[in-house]
Symmetry: C2
Subunit: 215 residues, 2 copies
């Protein structure tokens, strides 16, 4: 599964890239830079092409986290991303909202950036346990640290495991899929390419090849 | 210092409450529920009344975190809130953007919710050290745990310390100000009151009284 991280900030360009790559991707991940620039309506627009995962990295108290999740699902999102480090009450609150909307919840274990090793990596095993206990749909693990993906995959049981941090941040597709990822999240390598369509096609083929080899 | 947490989702109501309470508050804190519902322009509108702190609890990789901070300051925010838990590279990236805009950065140490004790509280001392090292403006500490406010205050040196979690979540103004807070962040107790104006006035007077008593 290839998820497009649509981190452009222009509404028109976002729709264009989503459209020309839609044949090759399974879902579109939107983050705050796009949603704040283009308005929350962008989720509805994009969801006509592909399921949209709202990467809002929710990390607030349960009350506020529920409100944020509610807005995302009301706006047409199919899935939402919440930070495990915010605690189990926050993850449960988001899960509850997602259930009402028949939506999916993904829990961040540790960020793919260097800072993800400072505090989060020390708890990501516990965060996976919590995610399983609460019964979310999947976890987000760092493509920049294949050994962590392997370890988290082992602990994650039947949870889906998606990895951002591929290519631009240094993660290798083959290595990450071999480590057990169910899918990768790719942004800049696609939308900053001279031909987002061709790049999406190429990466999608690589992912399919890996799924055959390793799954 | 009394900060109004303006967590309503209706643009008109947000402006009304901000206006009638503006005499009694030092700043307005906006969070995603309002900004996603009313649009990012709400920051500009409110900033005509009072300085606005964008409580975006930024917790992404540095690249994305910078983009989010940039949008907040470009939209008229005076300050921004970032999660210490995201790591020092993220906090530094947000600080860099804030500096260009002459803006303030507040770092969350631990959430005021129960979940804040699961992972964050184990690192909030380190997070304060990091916040000092990076040279941000202040930290956010939980009014629901006065003993932690006291400990974090001691470590925080000259950083401002603001506390959410007052009244509705159970924190006591007197106890928290005595523990060393420079200000409190109050939302529901004001905006859900039959008279937000009177409630803001009352709380503001209590905070002023505490500042005289304890500072």
């Amino acid at each position: 599964m290839l998820v497009l991280a649509l981190d452009v900030t222009d509404r028109k360009r976002a729709n264009e890239i989503a459209e020309i790559t839609s044949k090759y991707i399974s879902a579109i991940k939107v983050n705050y830079p796009l949603v704040l620039s283009a308005g929350i309506q962008i989720i509805e627009e994009l969801s006509e092409l592909k399921p949209v995962i709202a990467d809002f990295k929710i990390s607030d108290i349960p009350y506020t986290s529920s409100l944020i999740a509610e807005i995302a699902f009301d706006s047409g999102a199919d899935g939402i991303i919440v930070h495990g480090f915010a605690g189990s009450d926050t993850v449960s609150a988001v899960k509850k909202v997602a259930e009402r909307h028949d939506g999916e919840v993904y829990v961040v274990t540790e960020l793919s950036s260097e800072g993800g090793t400072e505090f989060m990596a020390k708890h990501s095993d516990e965060i996976v346990e919590m995610a399983k206990r609460i019964g979310v749909h999947g976890i987000i693990a760092p493509a920049t640290r294949a050994e962590r993906v392997r370890e988290l995959r082992e602990k994650a049981g039947r949870l889906k495991l998606l990895c951002p941090g591929i290519i631009t941040q240094g993660g290798s597709i083959d290595e990450i899929m071999k480590a057990g990822a169910d899918g990768i999240i790719v942004g800049r390598a696609i939308y900053s390419s001279p031909s987002p369509e061709k790049e999406a096609e190429k990466i999608s083929r690589l992912v399919q090849g890996c799924l055959k080899k390793y799954k």
